[in-house]
């Protein structure tokens, strides 16, 4: 009797319990198949199409489209916009998270909602608001014209629109993380004689480094890929105010499909790198690093 219970062949009761909360094999296969078909139709096939169309006319055409001067100018402007907007939003994110996570004050929830606001604004409207402020008809339009400054249809407008659309990324990663970590470690540091900056650099930032990196990766991807907002403020001047996504649009509308997809493939590669980095950081995050 006791032997029969210990015999691994008699594990029937356990297996029945497992089966009762699992679907039959054919149901599982059908569900997995349906899910993969959906992802295939909407994600994988379009992504593959970018690289297929980019290389269809051969590597030479691809290379020429990528090293063409207007394309290189677009790459430079895209990198510039990201290089300005990401660090600014990083500093903002740390400041906002410090105030919100380490202190109690009235209106905190309202402030968190306002920080998230740019995510619920259409990219087109994100561009429009800067036209209304800095455009020729806008609040500062005449003053800017009199001082020979250009914001709209120029690089500053593109940078402003990029800052707007990437505004919440770092802050919304750091706020919940720093709230969960509490204030004990920082208080210990200050009591032991560390200054505020020392506490921030040596205690707080090392504790949130993965969350910080995560926010930077996401905001960088959005900064380099933004289309709608930048499109409104750019004026589409080739070689001057064209970012990579806008360059893709121009080539596409001129029926230069191979070149358009070649340029698009650079951005698709950026997206793939972003996904890989994101997965790596998420795993580190999971380890509690």
């Amino acid at each position: 009797m006791t032997e029969a219970v210990l015999d691994p062949r008699f594990t029937l009761p356990v297996r029945t319990v497992e089966k009762a909360t699992a679907e039959p094999r054919w149901v599982r296969l059908v569900l997995i198949g349906l899910a993969l078909a959906f992802l295939g139709i909407f994600l994988f096939v379009p992504l593959a199409a970018v690289f297929y169309e980019a290389l269809r006319k051969g590597v030479v055409v691809y290379w020429q489209a990528v090293i063409e001067p207007d394309a290189l100018a677009a790459v430079r402007l895209t990198l510039l916009a990201a290089a300005i907007s990401v660090p600014l939003n990083l500093v903002f994110g740390v400041a906002a998270a410090w105030a919100i996570a380490k202190f109690e004050f009235r209106g905190k929830n309202l402030l968190i909602t306002l920080i998230d606001l740019p995510f619920s604004v259409s990219p087109v409207i994100a561009g429009l608001i800067f036209v209304l402020v800095f455009g020729l008809q806008g609040w500062f339009g005449e003053w800017l014209r009199d001082h020979d400054l250009k914001v709209i249809f120029a690089v500053p407008g593109i940078v402003l629109a990029t800052i707007f659309v990437t505004f919440p990324f770092v802050a919304r990663e750091l706020i919940p993380l720093m709230q969960a970590q509490g204030t004990e470690e920082e208080e210990a540091a200050v009591v032991l004689g560390a200054s505020g900056w020392q506490t921030l650099w040596r205690v707080t930032l090392p504790n949130v480094k993965w969350g910080l990196l995560y926010g930077v990766i996401l905001s960088n991807a959005r900064a380099m890929g933004e289309f709608g907002a930048v499109s409104v403020v750019s004026g589409h001047i080739r070689g001057l105010t064209n970012t990579l996504p806008l360059h893709v649009e121009i080539l596409y509308n001129e029926y230069q499909f191979a070149a358009a997809f070649a340029t698009a493939s650079l951005l698709a590669l950026l997206a793939l790198v972003t996904l890989v980095l994101k997965a790596v950081v998420e795993r580190r995050f999971g380890d509690g690093g």
Binding site: T21, A49, A95, W98, S122, L128, I129, A221, G225, F257
Partner: protein
């Protein structure tokens, strides 16, 4: 709880951190956004009403909100399915597929737009399959639906997934012991628990879709009254130097977006309460 005043704390830097946060928030977000509302005041009420209810504008609302709603619905069904499969089953390549769900967040919308247009046009890989049935996808309202489904895809998966992971197996085991079939257990036990997260994901996908521009314009065809979305109409008005008209439309869109934001916050609060005390 937000009424509680600052506790006594030894930590420095509250003033400078909050001051900088508020200044930056005002300069980048609040003041520019208020420009739209102030600009609309330059219109009389009648002019505003005519601008936001012109037949071409109404047609664009129907398409934008209709296609966004349908796309969010498709994503609710398939997002739930994808989340379920990723959490509950094991199959080769699962980790990579899980990471790829976020592709619509990472891929620039213009790239998504031209890729979808290429794949779903009548000579594209998928679009050509529908030609024998007389169905055109790209350059019709159906194309708008495809693009909006693409960009809203991660929302439902990413809101449902963590709830599904945290689900206590005991609940389902109890249901099974009490004689419930697998389907009954899902519809009566699992689904109600997932519902707040599912609705949040639906609302997030819907909110994202109504403002979407880049991925849609390449595949839509952009025919006035037929396949023209509201954000495109705003740009068209801007290009015609009709700043007041563009701003009036923007204000309507902003008011709808803010209402949705409020609904999403309420849903998330509901979902958190559900998870804290099931």
């Amino acid at each position: 709880m937000s009424l509680a005043l600052r506790r006594h704390t030894v930590l420095p830097g509250f003033g400078i951190a909050l001051g900088f946060t508020l200044l930056y928030l005002c300069l980048i977000v609040l003041i520019p956004l208020s420009a739209t509302f102030l600009k609309t005041f330059s219109l009389t009420w009648d002019a505003f009403w005519t601008a936001v209810t012109a037949p071409r504008v109404l047609a664009s609302y129907r398409l934008t909100f209709g296609a966004s709603f349908l796309a969010a619905g498709i994503n609710a069904v398939f997002g739930l399915l994808v989340a379920w499969v990723l959490v509950r089953y094991r199959f080769p390549g699962k980790r990579i597929i899980d990471a790829f769900v976020d592709l619509p967040f990472a891929l620039p919308t213009a790239v998504a737009g031209i890729a979808l247009a290429a794949v779903y046009s009548t000579n594209g890989w998928i679009g050509s399959l529908f030609v024998p049935y007389g169905i055109k996808i790209a350059f019709t309202p159906l194309g708008v639906l495809v693009a909006l489904t693409f960009i809203g895809l991660p929302f439902v998966v990413r809101t449902v997934q963590p709830v599904l992971e945290d689900l206590e197996p005991e609940l389902e085991e109890a249901a099974a012991t009490l004689g419930a079939s697998r389907l009954q257990t899902f519809t009566k036990i699992v689904f109600p628990t997932l519902l707040p997260a599912l609705l949040t994901g639906f609302a997030l996908a819907f909110a994202r879709a109504i403002g979407e521009y880049g991925s849609v314009i390449f595949i839509a065809g952009n025919l006035p009254m037929v396949s023209e979305i509201t954000p495109l109409l705003i740009i068209t008005k801007l290009e015609q130097y009709d700043y007041a008209g563009a701003t009036a439309l923007a204000v309507v869109m902003l008011l709808i977006s803010f209402t949705l934001l409020l609904i999403i916050n309420l849903l998330q609060w509901w979902a958190r309460r559900r998870r804290a005390a099931p």
